[in-house]
Symmetry: C2
Subunit: 366 residues, 2 copies
C-alpha cells in the first residue's frame, strides 16, 4: 500500500484535523468480531432453516396465507437472536420507495417550524417514515438544488412557502407535494392551511370591543400568501367597524427591526394608534420595546397583539395576547396528507382552527 486511507470527504474546511500517522491505522471494528458483517436476511434464513424469500415475506408483514404461523415465529426468533436489521439501501433499491419525506421549511431556529417538524416527525415515525429537512431558500435569495442534500432519495415533499424557482423544481420532480399555508387554489398539490382569517377576525373583534379604532398593523416584510391573507383579513374585518382606520408598517422578523418600524409607525403624523396588531410574536416583542422607548405603557397606553403563541409570548413582559397556531398539527396533518397521497387516498381537507389567547398586553383604549 503506497497510498493513505481513502478519503470519504475532501478536506475543504479550515480545522479539519491533522492527518493520522500511517502506522496507527485503527480500523477497529470494535463492536463486531473481525470478519463478521451485519447479518442479512440470508443469514436469518439459514438460521431458521428456510429460504431467504420466506424471511422477506415474514418480515415484510405481507405473509397472510403465505407462511404458517409456526414458520413465521421461527423466522422472527432467528431474526431477533441474530440482531437482524433490514438493509434500507437494498430495500429502497428493490422497491423504488425510500420511505423518506422532504420537509421544506425556512429555518429550524424558528420555533413555529420547529414545532411543525416535531409534528411531522411524530407521524412519520409511526409509519416507518423518515424526514429530512431542506432549509428553504429565502424568497428573494438564490435557490440551491433542493435535491442536492436530499439526494433525490425521496418519496414526497412537504413544503412551506419558499422561493418560486426552488418550488417549481420540486413541482417538476413529479413527487407528491403537500403545501403548508399557501394558496389552496394550486391544484398540483395537497394543502394544509390554518384558518388565519378567523384569527385575525378574533383579534379585531377583541380590540374593537375594547374601544380601539385606530390600529397600527406591524406586518411581516415577507411577500408570501400567508401574509397577504393576514393583511386582507385585517382590512376586511376592520371594514365593518365604523370609524376604524389602519396604517401598515413592514418589518423583517427581528425584534430590533420591529422596534424601529413600530417607533416610526407610532410617531408618524395623524392620530396616534392605540393598538398594534402584529403578524407574529417576535414582531410584538419589538412593538412592546418601542412603546417603552416612547414612554408608553403596555397595555394601559397601547395595546399590542401577537400571532403564533410561541414560548416568547409568555417570556416577555407583559405576556402577549396572541393567536395560538396549532403548529404541531400542521406538521402532523402535512405528513398524513402526504401518506394519504402516496396510498392513493384523498388527503384530509379543511382549515385547522386557531385560538385567540387573552393575556396582559391588551386593555381598553385610553
Amino acid at each position: 500500500m503506497t497510498q493513505g486511507p481513502r478519503r470519504l470527504t475532501d478536506d475543504r474546511d479550515g480545522d479539519g484535523g491533522t492527518p493520522r500517522a500511517t502506522g496507527a491505522a485503527p480500523a477497529d471494528d470494535t463492536a463486531r468480531a473481525p470478519g463478521a458483517h451485519r447479518p442479512t436476511s440470508r443469514d436469518v434464513a439459514r438460521a431458521a432453516g428456510v429460504s431467504q424469500a420466506t424471511v422477506s415475506l415474514v418480515l415484510g408483514a405481507k405473509w397472510r396465507g403465505r407462511v404458517s404461523e409456526r414458520t413465521a415465529e421461527s423466522v422472527r426468533e432467528a431474526a431477533r437472536t441474530l440482531g437482524y436489521r433490514p438493509n434500507l439501501a437494498a430495500r429502497s433499491l428493490r422497491s423504488g420507495r425510500t420511505r423518506t419525506a422532504l420537509l421544506v421549511i425556512p429555518a429550524l431556529t424558528n420555533e413555529f417550524f420547529a414545532r411543525v417538524w416535531a409534528g411531522a416527525t411524530a407521524v412519520a415515525d409511526r409509519h416507518g417514515f423518515g424526514v429530512v429537512i431542506y432549509p428553504a431558500p429565502d424568497v428573494t435569495g438564490p435557490a440551491k438544488d433542493p435535491f442536492a442534500s436530499a439526494g433525490a432519495a425521496l418519496d414526497g415533499v412537504i413544503a412551506s412557502s419558499m422561493a418560486t424557482s426552488a418550488l417549481s423544481a420540486l413541482r417538476d420532480s413529479g413527487l407528491p407535494l403537500v403545501m403548508l399555508d399557501s394558496d389552496p387554489a394550486d391544484p398540483a398539490a395537497a394543502h394544509v392551511n390554518l384558518d388565519i382569517a378567523d384569527g385575525v377576525r378574533q383579534i379585531v373583534h377583541h380590540l374593537t370591543g375594547l374601544g380601539h379604532r385606530n390600529i397600527l398593523h406591524l406586518a411581516s416584510d415577507v411577500d408570501s400568501w400567508t401574509f397577504h391573507q393576514r393583511r386582507h383579513a385585517l382590512r376586511a374585518a376592520l371594514g365593518t367597524v365604523p370609524g376604524a382606520t389602519v396604517r401598515t408598517v413592514h418589518a423583517p422578523f427581528d425584534v430590533t427591526a420591529a422596534r424601529h418600524a413600530t417607533e416610526k409607525g407610532l410617531t408618524a403624523g395623524g392620530p396616534r394608534p392605540t393598538a398594534v396588531v402584529c403578524d407574529g410574536d417576535v414582531l410584538a416583542a419589538g412593538a412592546c420595546k418601542a412603546a417603552r422607548r416612547l414612554g408608553l405603557r403596555v397595555p394601559e397606553d397601547l395595546s399590542v397583539t401577537g400571532f403564533d403563541d410561541l414560548a416568547l409570548a409568555t417570556a416577555v413582559e407583559p405576556e402577549l395576547t396572541t393567536v395560538a397556531l396549532p403548529a404541531e398539527q400542521v406538521g402532523e396533518r402535512g405528513m398524513r396528507a402526504l401518506l394519504a397521497t402516496l396510498d392513493g387516498r384523498e388527503p384530509p381537507t379543511g382549515d385547522l382552527p386557531v385560538e385567540l389567547v387573552l393575556r396582559a398586553s391588551t386593555a381598553p383604549a385610553p
Copy 2:
C-alpha cells in the same frame, strides 16, 4: 413566521464547496414524462457512447489518470442533458456507506440545538452528507430504539447528552461517535466541548466587580455533565472571592417554573441575594419575572445573568447580560469531527471559546 435564514457559519473557506448546479438548472430536462423512469448511469453511458463503468468512474471523481479529459467531459455533458442523478440507494448498497449522519439532540424547539443542527447541516451539505435527527429521549424517560427511525442506514452519530441506555445502544452499534458537550474523559468518542468554565468565570468576575457577593444560582434540574460543570465552575470562581456566598435552586427549562423557583430562592431566609446567575436565558427570563412580582427592579435592585445568548435574550426587557455560546460552531465542528473520524484522521480538539455579552440586566449591587 417566516424569517430570513440566519448566517450559519463564519467559515473562512468562502462558499466552501464545489460549485453545484443551481436549482434553476434545466427544468425542462429534469421534468419527466409520466411513465419514463429516471435516467440511470447506463442511460448516460449510452448517450455518451461509453460504458457504464466509465460513467461511474467519471462521476465518482476518482478518474484522474483513468479517463481522458475529452471522454470525461462528454460524460458530464450527457449526464447534464439527461438530468441524471445517482441513485443513492444503489450507491449505498454497493459502497456500504450511506453518507448520512445521525444527530441526537433533545428537541429542535430548543433554539440552541436548532442552531447546532444548522451548523452541522451546513458542513454536511458541503460534503454531500445528509443529517437525520433523532430526538434524544429524556434523560429519565424510556429510550426508544435510536435506529428505529434512522433505519440503521448511518455512517456515524453526533450526540448531545441523552439517556444512558440509548447512549449505550449507540456505542454498541460500533458506529463512529462524536459527543457534544459531555465528559471528555470518555475515550470511545470524539468530543466537542465549550469552554463553559470560562464563561462562568467571566460572569462571576463581572458580578463581583460590580460589588455583588450574595449570589442566587438558578440551575437547570437536568442531571448532565454540562450542568455539573457549571455548578462546579461557579463555586470554584466564587471561592476565590472573600465573603461571597451562593445559594442554588433548581428549575426545569421553562419560564414559569423558573419564576417560581426564583421567587422561592429570593424569599428564603438569610440575606437577600443581589444577583441571580442562571443556567440559561430561559431561566433568566423567569428570574426577571420573579423580580417584578416581588417588586424588585432589574437591574437596579437585582442583577440577572443568562447563558446561551438566544434570541430571547434581546427580546425581553431588560435585555439580558449573558454568555454567548457558538452553537453553530458546535454543530460544524461536530460534523467535521465525524467526517475526520470516518477518514481516519484525528478529529479537532480544544474547547470552543465563549463570550460574555454585557447588556442591561446587570448593574452595581444596591
